[in-house]
Symmetry: C2
Subunit: 622 residues, 2 copies
C-alpha cells in the first residue's frame, strides 16, 4: 500500500515532550496565577519594584498623588448619599438578624440575611464568631489563590439564591408589618404561612396600614429613579426620609401605644471591642453552627462581591484581582469580628448608588464612614421613636429589588438548563433552607458539567460544496457525505469519564453508516476518519479507547485515519506506540487532506491490497 | 465599512432552534441510552420482536439452537478446570472474611476482600445483609440506566485500589503463615506490622516453612503458565494440588498437633436458605455498616466486572450492555443473599481461565456449578485436614497477581497525573482504609476533570506557510503570526466555571500581543479573531463573557471577529443579540476566510473609518 505515488502536503508535528516538572510548573501557574499578577513587576529596576509592591499592599499610594479637589467634591457627595442609605438600612438589617440595631450600621444585607435564616441562636457572640470564620475562610481562599472556587457558583445560581433568600426575608417581615408578637423561627414558606394565618386575630391594622404606605412610597421612588437615572438620589434618600417621617408620625400620634412597635433605646457611642464576645462564641455549644454559617455566608458574600465588583470594573476599565479582593474582604471581616461588626462585603445596591453618585475613589468610603460615625456618636437618640414597621418596609423594598425576575426570564429564553438551576436554587431556599438551596443548585450545575464531560457530542462531517472545508451536516445541510468514508468529529478531550461512551458511540456511528450505505446502494464504507481537532487532551483510558476503536475497524475491514491530532494528544499517542500501530502515514493535518488521500487510494488501488469489504460479522456465538 | 467590495465565500449557518422538549428528549436519550439497546427491534414484524424480546431476557434461547456437541466438549473441560480453581479459592476467601468456609464456594475474591477490611462485625448476618444491599444498589443503577457512574472510577483508580487491597490482604495472611493466634483487627500497614512484630516469640516455624513452600510452588506454576499459555491448566490446577498435598501431609505427619492449624469440620450439604439470617442482619446494630459495605463493594465489583467483561468482549467481538449486566449481577446478589451466598461478580482470574480453557457458552458455568455442588454434597470431609497455611498461600499468590505493577509503570510513562491518582488510591487503602483510598482517588480524578473545565487552554494560531491552514504556533513552530491580527483558539465549551478565567486570559493575550508588537515594531494590532471551532456549547455566563470581550476590544480600538461558531453556540448568540452586536458580517466559516477578509480591509480601508490605533489606556484612576 503506502503512499509513494501520492504526495501528502503536510505532516502532523509531534512536539518533543516537555520534562514533567516544567509542564507541572506551567500547569500550576496557569491554574493559580491566570491573571499574571506580577506582570507589572517584570523588567523593572529594584526601586520601582519596591514602589509598586508598596502600592500593591497600600493602594492609597497609587491614587493619592493624582487626587484633586474635583475628585474630593464628587467623593463627598457620594459618601453622604451612601451614608443616608446605609444608616436606616443598617439598623433594619440588624433588626432582621435579631441583633442590636447598632451592629447593623456597618453591615451589608447579604450576611445578616443568611444569618437570620441559619443561626439557630440569635446571639451576638455566635454572630461575631461566624463573621470571624467567614473572614478566615475568605482570606485563606485568597492566600491559596483558590479564587476560582467562587466561579462554580454560576450567575444563574446566584440569581435564584438571592431571589429565594429575598422571598424568605420578605415573608419574615410579615411579623413587623402585621404587628405580631409571636412568630415562627422556621424560615420555609409553609411554616411561615401557617404561623401567620394561625393568628389572624392578632393582626394590628394600624401597623399594617403604616407599613403598606411606606412600602408604596419606597417602591414609587425606586420606580421613579429607575425611569430617570439623574434622580438616583431620590431613591437613595427615600429610606432616611421614611425613617424621619415615621418617627415624627409616631412621636406626634403616640402610635407606640396603639400597637405600633418602635426601636426604643439605642446605645450611643462607637463600636466597642468585642474580643470577649468572640471568646464566648468559641466556647459556646453553637460553635459548629457558627463555623458553618461563616463558611456559607463567606462564600456567598464573596461570589456576590466579586461578581458586582467585576461588572463595575468592566464599566470603568480597571482590573479586579479576585484573590487580592478575597484577602481584603477576609481581613476586613476578621477585624470586624473583633470590633462588634458583623460580616461585610460590597453590597450591590450601595455599590450601584456609589457609582451613580459619581464616586471617584476610596475617599467616598471614608466620608461615608465618618457620617456613620457621627450618627453613632450623636444621633442615635433620634431613632428612639422609629417604628419597626418602617424598618420592615425598608427591608421588603430592598429585598423586592433583589428578585431579578428579568434575569430569570432572560435565562429561560437563552438557556433552559440555566433556568432550571436558577429555579432549583430558588425553590430550595424558599421551601427548604439556605443550605438545601445552595447544595441543590451547585449539585445541578456540577452535574451538568460532569454530564457534558461524560457525554461529549460527536458529529458526522460533510464536504461544503466547492471547497475543501468539512463541517457538521447537522449545522450545514448543504454539506455532502463523502462516498466510502465516514468522517467523525469528537467534541471533547477523551478521559476515563467518557472513554467507554465514545467507544460505543463510534461503533454505533459505524454500523449506522454501514446500514445506511447498504440500503441506499452507495459505495461501501472503506475509511473512518476521526477529526481530532477538538480533542485537547487524552488520558490512559482514552488511549485504550482509541486502541479498541482501531481493533474494531480492523476487524470490519475499515481503515482508521486521524485528522489534526493536537499537541498533547499526539505526544501521548506517540509514546504509547499508537502512532506506530495506526501508521504515521494515516495521520493528516486537515480533514481535507485526509479525504484527498483516501479518495486517491480508493480509486487507484481498488483492486490491490487496499482494505476491501471482506467484512464478516458473527464469528462467535457467545 | 461593510464588505460590499469583497466577496465572502461562505456564510455561517444559524440552524433553527429545536423545540425545548424535543432537544430535552434527544439529550436524555443520548445520556441514558447511548448504546441504542433497542436497535435490533427496529423495523421488525411483531412476532420477530417478541422472539427477540424473549431472547433478551432468557439468553439461552439465543445460543441453544446453535449449540453442538463440539461446544459441549469445550464447555465441559473448561467448567471442570474452573471448578478445580473455584473450590479451594472459595474456601480460602471465606476464611479470609472470617465466614464459614462453605459460604465462599460461590463467591469471588473482590467482595470478601473488601468485606474483610470493612466489616467491623465478622458476622454472617451482616455479610448477607451487605450482599443484599449491594445487589439492590447494583440492580437499581442498572434499572435507572446510571451505568455511566461506574465510568468515573478510572482504570488508574482501579489499578491502585486493587493493588492496595491486595497488599492489605497479603499482610493479613501473615497471621496464617506465621501461625499466630491473636491478631489485630485493623487493616492499615502500621497496625499490622506492629501486631506482627510485637509477638515474635509466638511465630511457628513449621507453619512458616510450609506456607513459603506452597507459595513458591504456586508462584512457580503461575510463572510457567504465563510463559507457555498452552499450559494454562497447570496454573488452574495448582491450588487444588496444593490443598490435596497439604491435607495428605498433615494427615500423615499429625502436623495439626505441631502448630499447623487445619480447617476442621465442614458442614456437608447444599447452601440452606438464609432469609432468617438476613432478617437478623436488618435488625442488627451493624445495619449502617452493612449498607455502607454493600454500596462500596457493589460499585467496585461492578466497575471491575464490567471492565473485565468489556476487555473479553472486545477479543471475541460481542457487545456488553453495561446496564443489563448490572441488573443481572444485582439480581444474582439479591438471590444469593437469600441462599447463604455472598457477593458475586465475574472475577478476572476465573474469567481469564475460562477464556483460556476455551469455554464456548454459559454451559461451562453450569458444569462448574454442578462440580461445586457435588463437592458440597460429598467431598467436604476431605477438607478436614487442609492446613490453613495452604489457604493463606493460595490467597497471597492470587493477591500478588492483582498487584499490576506493569500497569502502574505504563501509567507513569504515559500520564503522570493518572499515576498520581493510582498511587493515591494505593496509599489511601494501605495506610488508611478502603473508603479513604476510594474517596481520595475519585476526588483527585474529579478535581482533574473540574480543573480542565475551569482552566481550558487557549492557543495563538499562525499560518502554515503556503496554505490557508492555521494551527497552534506551539505545536507547529513553522506557523507564522499574521501581521495586525491575533488569532486565538478557545479549547473548550464556555461555561460559568471558566467564563471569568477565559475573559482574563483573552485580555492577557491581547495586551501581551500589543506589548510584543510595540517592541518588535510590527504592524499594530487591528483584529482579534476568535476561533470558536472547539467551543461546543455556551451558557449564559459564557455569553456575558463574550459581550465583555467585545467591549474590551471596542475600547482598545480592535475589531472582534468570530471564526466557525458551532451550531449550539451560534443559536444562543443569535438569540441573545450578540450576532447583531458584533455584526453578522464579522463571522466566518474558517479562520482562513476571516484572515483573508481582515487582510483585505486592512490594506484597502487603511485611511478610512477602519478601526485604527486610537487606543488610550488609563481614562480612570480608580
Amino acid at each position: 500500500m503506502g503512499n509513494a505515488d501520492y504526495e501528502c502536503p503536510h505532516r502532523v508535528a509531534i512536539p518533543p515532550s516537555k520534562p514533567f516538572l516544567k509542564s507541572l510548573k506551567s500547569g500550576l501557574k496557569e491554574t493559580f496565577f491566570p491573571d499574571d499578577p506580577f506582570r507589572q513587576f517584570k523588567n523593572q529596576p529594584a526601586s520601582r519594584k519596591f514602589l509598586l509592591g508598596l502600592q500593591h499592599f497600600v493602594p492609597i499610594l497609587e491614587w493619592a498623588p493624582r487626587y484633586t479637589f474635583e475628585f474630593f467634591k464628587s467623593d463627598l457627595i457620594s459618601g453622604i448619599t451612601i451614608a443616608s442609605l446605609a444608616v436606616p438600612q443598617g439598623i433594619s438589617y440588624a433588626s432582621l438578624a435579631n441583633l442590636p440595631p447598632i451592629i447593623g450600621l456597618y453591615s451589608s444585607f447579604v450576611p445578616p440575611l443568611v444569618y437570620a435564616m441559619m443561626g439557630s441562636s440569635r446571639d451576638l457572640a455566635v454572630a461575631l464568631t461566624a463573621t470571624f470564620f467567614a473572614g478566615v475562610f475568605q482570606a485563606a481562599l485568597g492566600f491559596l489563590r483558590l479564587g476560582f472556587i467562587v466561579d462554580f457558583l454560576s450567575h444563574a445560581t446566584i440569581v435564584g439564591f438571592m431571589a429565594g433568600a429575598a422571598t424568605v426575608v420578605c415573608l419574615q417581615q410579615l411579623k413587623g408589618i402585621l404587628g405580631l408578637v409571636r412568630f415562627t423561627h422556621a424560615t420555609d414558606l409553609v411554616s411561615v404561612m401557617r404561623s401567620v394565618f394561625s393568628q389572624t386575630h392578632q393582626w394590628r391594622w394600624e401597623s399594617g396600614v403604616l407599613g403598606c404606605c411606606f412600602l408604596f412610597f419606597l417602591l414609587l421612588t425606586r420606580y421613579f429613579s429607575k425611569k430617570k437615572p439623574a434622580f438616583f438620589w431620590i431613591n437613595a434618600m427615600a429610606p432616611l426620609t421614611s425613617v424621619i417621617l415615621g418617627s415624627v408620625l409616631v412621636y406626634f400620634t403616640n402610635a407606640e401605644k396603639h400597637g405600633v412597635q418602635v426601636i426604643g433605646h439605642l446605645k450611643r457611642g462607637l463600636n466597642p471591642p468585642s474580643v470577649s464576645e468572640l471568646a464566648l462564641g468559641f466556647g459556646s455549644p453553637y460553635l459548629t453552627t457558627a463555623i458553618k454559617t461563616g463558611v456559607i455566608t463567606g462564600v456567598i458574600a464573596l461570589a456576590e462581591g466579586i461578581a458586582v465588583g467585576r461588572s463595575f470594573a468592566m464599566f470603568k476599565n480597571y482590573h479586579i484581582d479576585g484573590n487580592k479582593e478575597m484577602i481584603a474582604i477576609g481581613m476586613m471581616n476578621i477585624a470586624g469580628s473583633c470590633t462588634s461588626c458583623y460580616l461585610t462585603t460590597g453590597p450591590f445596591s450601595r455599590t450601584a448608588v456609589n457609582f451613580n453618585a459619581g464616586c471617584k475613589s476610596a475617599v467616598s468610603n471614608i466620608v461615608m464612614a465618618t457620617a456613620v460615625m457621627l450618627t453613632l456618636l450623636f444621633l442615635t437618640p433620634l431613632f428612639h421613636y422609629t417604628p419597626l414597621v418602617v424598618l420592615s418596609s425598608i427591608i421588603i423594598s430592598a429585598m423586592l429589588g433583589l428578585i431579578d425576575y428579568e434575569a430569570a426570564l432572560h435565562l429561560w429564553k437563552l438557556d433552559k438548563f440555566d433556568f432550571i438551576v436558577c429555579m432549583s436554587a430558588y425553590a430550595g431556599v424558599v421551601f427548604g433552607s439556605v443550605e438545601i438551596g445552595l447544595v441543590v443548585a451547585v449539585a445541578i450545575s456540577l452535574l451538568r458539567v460532569l454530564l457534558s464531560v461524560a457525554r461529549p457530542r460527536t458529529f458526522v462531517l460533510g464536504n461544503i460544496p466547492k471547497s475543501v472545508i468539512y463541517r457538521s451536516i447537522d449545522q450545514y445541510p448543504v454539506a455532502n457525505n463523502v462516498p466510502g468514508m465516514l468522517i467523525l468529529q469528537i467534541d471533547s478531550s477523551i478521559y476515563f469519564a467518557n472513554a467507554s461512551y465514545l467507544r460505543e458511540r463510534i461503533s454505533r456511528w459505524i454500523y449506522e453508516e454501514e446500514d445506511r450505505v447498504k440500503v441506499s446502494g452507495e459505495t461501501s464504507l472503506h475509511y473512518v476518519i476521526l477529526d481530532m481537532s477538538n480533542v485537547g487532551s487524552i488520558d490512559t483510558s482514552g488511549i485504550s479507547m482509541l486502541e479498541e476503536v482501531k481493533k474494531t475497524t480492523d476487524r470490519r475491514g475499515l481503515k482508521l485515519v486521524l485528522a489534526n491530532p493536537r499537541s498533547e494528544v499526539i505526544k501521548k499517542l506517540d509514546k504509547s506506540k499508537f502512532v506506530e500501530n495506526i501508521g504515521p502515514e494515516w495521520m493528516y493535518l486537515t480533514v481535507g487532506e485526509a479525504v484527498a488521500t483516501c479518495n486517491f487510494m480508493l480509486h487507484t488501488c481498488k483492486s490491490s491490497s487496499n482494505p476491501g469489504p471482506e467484512y464478516n460479522s458473527q464469528d462467535n456465538i457467545v
